[in-house]
């Protein structure tokens, strides 16, 4: 356990070495949040009710989605696909630790760093924008489901990285690009999924992506009181499925790994 704690600390220090890079990343993050917030503010300004959302609940959704983006989506483990593609994975296979746990430790450091900065930014934005925010009825349940979502995202993302074993071109970026496009929309990070017609919502709901942002946000808003247990169970179900799938694909990938580029 101590070695992963050391990796966590080193990863934290590494992020802080490239300060300009990190600050620019945070600027991007704030602009993304502001763009989304101002869009929905404009939309709800001229329409007091959009579907089941009032202005207050919709803007709360955007704030909560902003938090979840930082908690769930913050990751540095996307670099694994480049390491596999370049053959740098060799360096790690020789070391006495689990590659999966190595990236998980680094992701935790990245999430914590991003959350700390997001905390400061969100307080500042709250003081400037002064929105009316719905407070959660079940804060612990929200935090619990958010943590599960973060772990689910890790396995999903790692699975995508593993694709580099078979297609190392562009450092594995093509599938990740597609993954990011899907995640951004189908997770509900940009748009609450229940804005769509019921038939489409049904399709969204059976996919694992909606458990990353949409459902945790519904838990915060108190709009999932009856579904709460189901949400936890299904998030757990997808987590186990993708954990097993990641392990399986990783083992298969290692068998076909030829360390191209080394």
């Amino acid at each position: 356990m101590r070695k992963y704690w050391t990796i966590f600390k080193l990863s934290w220090q590494n992020s802080l070495v490239y300060r300009l890079n990190f600050v620019m990343w945070r600027v991007r993050s704030v602009i993304g949040f502001l763009a989304s917030y101002l869009f929905w503010l404009a939309l709800t300004g001229s329409n007091h009710q959009i579907g089941s959302y009032t202005q207050t609940s919709l803007l709360t959704y955007i704030f909560v989605a902003g938090f979840l983006r930082n908690l769930v989506f913050s990751n540095i483990s996307y670099s694994a696909c480049a390491e596999i593609a370049s053959g740098d994975l060799n360096n790690f296979l020789l070391k006495p630790f689990s590659y999966l746990k190595y990236w998980f430790s680094r992701d935790l450091a990245d999430k914590l760093l991003n959350l700390i900065f997001f905390g400061g930014e969100i307080i500042l934005l709250y003081l400037i924008l002064r929105p009316v925010i719905v407070m959660p009825l079940h804060l612990l349940a929200f935090l619990g489901i958010s943590l599960l979502s973060g772990i689910l995202f890790f396995f999903l993302s790692f699975l995508v990285s593993s694709f580099s074993f078979w297609h190392p071109e562009h450092d594995g970026w093509p599938l990740r690009f597609l993954f990011l496009m899907i995640i951004d929309f189908l997770s509900g990070a940009s748009i609450p999924l229940d804005i769509f017609p019921p038939a489409i919502i049904k399709v969204f709901k059976i996919m694992p992506f909606s458990y990353l942002v949409y459902y945790p946000a519904q838990v915060w808003l108190g709009q999932a009181e009856k579904e709460m247990v189901g949400i936890f169970l299904l998030t757990g179900f997808w987590l186990v499925i993708f954990y097993l799938l990641t392990r399986l694909v990783w083992r298969q990938g290692l068998k076909s790994y030829a360390a191209y580029g080394r």
Binding site: L20, N21, M24, W25, V27, R28, I31, G32, A35, L38, F39, A42, L43, G45, S46, N47, I50, G51, H167, E169, H170, W173, P174, L175, F177, L178, L180, M181, I182, D184, F185, I191, I195, F196, P197, I200
Partner: protein
């Protein structure tokens, strides 16, 4: 300036780019699929919105669709021709930019056009087809204004990419700068009029995504007056000249580090 030399350079460079894209078809398909998904998701969202609301700050959803399509049109054209800016950071870091400076071709031209993103072409074709379907009847005068404002948009897009390239030379930071611009330009997927006055002014005169994306779409609905069009032209030329000045300044700061 020897125009023929530039055309030959551009054609040669981009035929090589096209060959590399064709050589790795799976990657190209994944990229194209991702781009089309993003486009269709947002378009689907606008149609879903049509079932819930009628107007957004005076615009109906069909008009918002046209604004979204025009946004995509210029965003894609900008990326299609100036994708090179996304790629040249490594040259600055390694000092390989020295070789760009030594060639008998304007270095700015090389940086901007070194890579044409042919993967944007399928989406561009779809956007144009959608525009034909969704565009209301446009008068000859409105079409003429649209052409003028398209020129303004291209001039401003060129200037923005020059600014990003210049910042890259000075700070070695390119990726985040261009993505910050992309983040801000994403706000112009809807007309910038929907935002508050302060945000609207910022998006029009500081980071001019309002002029680049919203103005051409507004011209199609006959919503722009002659003084506004003149102002847009004046602003675009000034912005472009400033970007060139800034590029010259940045070149003087280039230290050829790591070379």
């Amino acid at each position: 300036m020897n125009l023929k030399r530039y055309i030959v350079y551009w054609l040669k460079n981009n035929s090589l780019t096209l060959q590399s894209l064709l050589a790795d078809r799976l990657s190209s398909i994944l990229f194209i699929f991702g781009k089309l998904l993003r486009f269709s998701f947002y378009l689907g969202f606008l149609f879903a919105l049509k079932l819930k609301i009628k107007l957004v700050t005076g615009y109906n959803i069909d008009q918002l669709v046209v604004f979204f399509l025009i946004y995509n049109l210029f965003d894609l054209v900008g990326q299609l021709f100036y994708r090179g800016v996304y790629w040249y950071r490594a040259d600055i870091l390694s000092g390989a930019f020295d070789f760009t400076l030594l060639k008998p071709i304007n270095p700015l031209f090389q940086v901007l056009t070194s890579h044409t993103d042919f993967l944007d072409l399928p989406q561009l074709i779809i956007v144009l087809a959608c525009l034909v379907i969704f565009l209301p009847g446009v008068s000859a005068a409105e079409a003429l204004v649209f052409v003028i404002l398209s020129f303004v948009s291209m001039l401003l897009l060129t200037a923005v990419h020059i600014f990003v390239a210049a910042i890259g030379v000075i700070t070695t930071e390119v990726d985040h700068t261009i993505w910050i611009f992309r983040g801000l330009s994403g706000m112009a997927q809807v007309p910038v009029d929907v935002y508050s006055r302060a945000v609207r002014d910022f998006l029009t005169f500081v980071v001019p995504v309002g002029i680049i994306f919203t103005f051409p779409a507004k011209s199609l609905f006959g919503l722009l007056s002659v003084p506004i069009i003149t102002l847009a032209l004046f602003f675009a030329f000034t912005f472009y000249l400033l970007s060139l000045k800034f590029w010259q300044y940045a070149l003087k700061k280039y230290s050829s580090a790591s070379s």
